[in-house]
Amino acid sequence: MNDERALALYRTMARIRAFEDAAEQASKGGVAAFGASLSQAEVRGPLHLSTGQEAVPAGVCAHLGITDLLTSTHRGHGHTIAKGAAPDRMMCELFGRASGYNGGKGGSMHIADFSVGMLGANGVVAAGIPIAVGAAHALRARGGSNVVACFFGDGAINRGPFLEGLNWAAVHALPILFVCEDNRWAATTASESNTAGAGALARAQAIGVPGAQVDGNDVFAVWDAAGNLLAEIRQGGGPRLLHAITYRVKGHVSVDAAAYRDAAQHEREIERDPLVLAAQRIAKPDQLEAIGREARGEVAAALAAAHAAPWPEPRAAYTDVQDTGAGRWRG
């Protein structure tokens, strides 16, 4: 891998990290769950951080163009940034402002930037899988070699749509890369305790979807593996699955202290920080430091923009519902 490429991957990760750190701060007190109680917060509702998982979207999305599509999960900030969205408009959305990507209608769990092919985060586990399947049909109808990248967690492989969507994609040889971000936790439950067999890749293979397993904290390995699989897909080889093993550094949502995890094991896991691992390999401390500074600066500007941004007007609650019967809000 050349230096420029390596630095670009690092930059994507640094930008995601900076975003997540800022969002985390802004969300304290934003939701009453996991024993936390509600107080004033700039980011309201459940906020799912991808801190520590940055290598997966960075490595995968480096192979995607703006005309490729992506579906995401509840933990979607990393995917959104890696696909090319602007952090300031994302932060505005998290702050619920009119200038957010969704005009304040979606927030973190539904963050989307269709202009870069990011078809939305989703609050329902595994719900993005069938949507990705349909989007791939549309790409094929259009012609060309575009693909859909479909991200989901290790918990999602126990929901029906995982089976249905993979089978369907294989039957129709659709251009999809399924990406299982296996952070080994599903909310407060260790996934291994509720997942039989060898996991995402083994299941995929049995459903006719080949793929690869990779260290999801090694951005170069992710980049390599995703590149190979995407090349096969673009050549008409049908769907592939990338099973990326990573680790959820934070709690399930930002207010979750995750006290249910083993402290010693947690300490070991977080040593494998993907940014640290990449930095060791890149070995250009000054440049990396500059990238980090830039990323933090970008997010500081995003925060400032979000603070200053206007709230949506109440009447915006009534737009983009449906055209037929619009105006009939109470009968």
């Binding site: 549309a138 037929t324 009939r328």
Partner: protein, 321 residues
């Protein structure tokens, strides 16, 4: 032309004029088990008339993805009862995607969910769920009763660009009728199937025909029924119903769905809020549909039942103003 063919011809016309229209569902390649897709795969190929696995969640979810990425899918669910396997995709995804994403994408699609009683098919194949879909923001809900409407409304549903829950009736496939393809239908517009003076009967789907039979029975007892076929459940034609209620002062709402929390309740509630009309409802009892004929019959709306309710309503104490 029968009701199934009328839908098929509407779809065929739409597919000819708009290359983004695609069909997906189980058995559609062999024309659908009621013939409502007859010949379409031969005409348009396997990429536009897509045979799917038995994967309801993915049939409906894929349609959402297709729509967001620029296609206009028509989804076949065989019966509304099986669509219960795809409710997350319909309600949490299709209905809300445009809104949640702040208008960045929209889900123009038609989901065909044949509704109503299906003779001898028992509890899991006989439900009428229009009230559920009317309750969900984002959805349009259509229930054609005639071949003409199944043609015209299907075309209108495809054209509107919203997610439409399209409720053909499970027992109307063979119904014959004239179809004038050029006659446009407008969503949200009721039809006065029969004008009358004494009692307004508001209904839709198969019960339109039952109500028309009831009108003949009531006529013999000196009661004149005005039968309004809503055709679109959401948005329903308030103006037409309120205007008729103002003329007759008495309204019976009747539907095949369970009466409790059925869509008739919404209409009756609106009438209570806005008029002094006397209102009554006649829906199915709140019991699952039984298999055996005498049990199933308890869930059926009959011409006699409607006529009796209307005659009683005619003689009910008049409303005061």
């Amino acid at each position: 032309m029968n009701y199934a063919q009328a839908g098929c011809s509407a779809l065929e016309a739409a597919m000819r004029s708009d290359a983004s229209v695609v069909v997906l569902g189980e058995d559609v390649g062999r024309g659908g088990i009621f013939g409502q897709y007859h010949g379409l795969q031969q005409a348009f190929g396997e990429q536009r008339v897509i045979d799917t696995p038995i994967s309801e969640s993915t049939i409906l979810g894929a349609a959402v993805g297709m729509a967001l990425a620029g296609l206009r899918p028509v989804v076949e669910m065989r019966v509304v009862d099986f669509a219960l396997c795809a409710i997350d995709e319909l309600v949490n995804q299709a209905a809300k995607a445009r809104y949640m994403f702040g208008g960045q994408g929209r889900v123009g699609m038609v989901a065909r969910l044949p509704n109503g009683l299906w003779s001898g098919s028992a509890a899991q194949h006989s439900q009428s769920l229009e009230a559920w879909f009317a309750h969900i923001p984002g959805l349009v809900v259509v229930a054609p009763a005639t071949p003409q409407d199944n043609h015209g409304l299907l075309r209108a549903a495809l054209a509107c660009g919203d997610p439409v829950v399209y409720l053909e009736h499970k027992e109307l496939w063979g119904l014959q009728g004239e179809v004038e393809p050029a006659q446009l239908a407008r969503l949200g517009e009721a039809e006065i199937a029969r004008p009358g003076r004494d009692v307004t009967v508001v209904t839709w789907s198969r019960t339109r025909h039952t109500a028309l039979q009831a009108a003949a029975l009531a006529e013999k007892q000196g009661v004149s029924l005005e039968v309004i076929d809503l055709r679109t459940i959401w948005p329903w034609d308030r103006d037409a119903v309120l205007a008729s209620a103002a003329r007759t002062g008495r309204v019976l709402i009747t539907h095949e769905a369970v009466q409790v929390a059925g869509f008739g309740a919404e209409i009756a509630a609106t009438l209570a809020e806005e008029t002094d009309a006397r209102v009554r409802r006649l829906g199915a009892p709140r019991v699952p549909v039984g298999y055996s004929q005498p049990l199933e019959d308890e869930s059926r709306i009959t011409p006699q039942g409607i006529a009796a309710a209307c005659v009683e309503l005619r003689h009910a104490r008049p409303a005061h103003r």
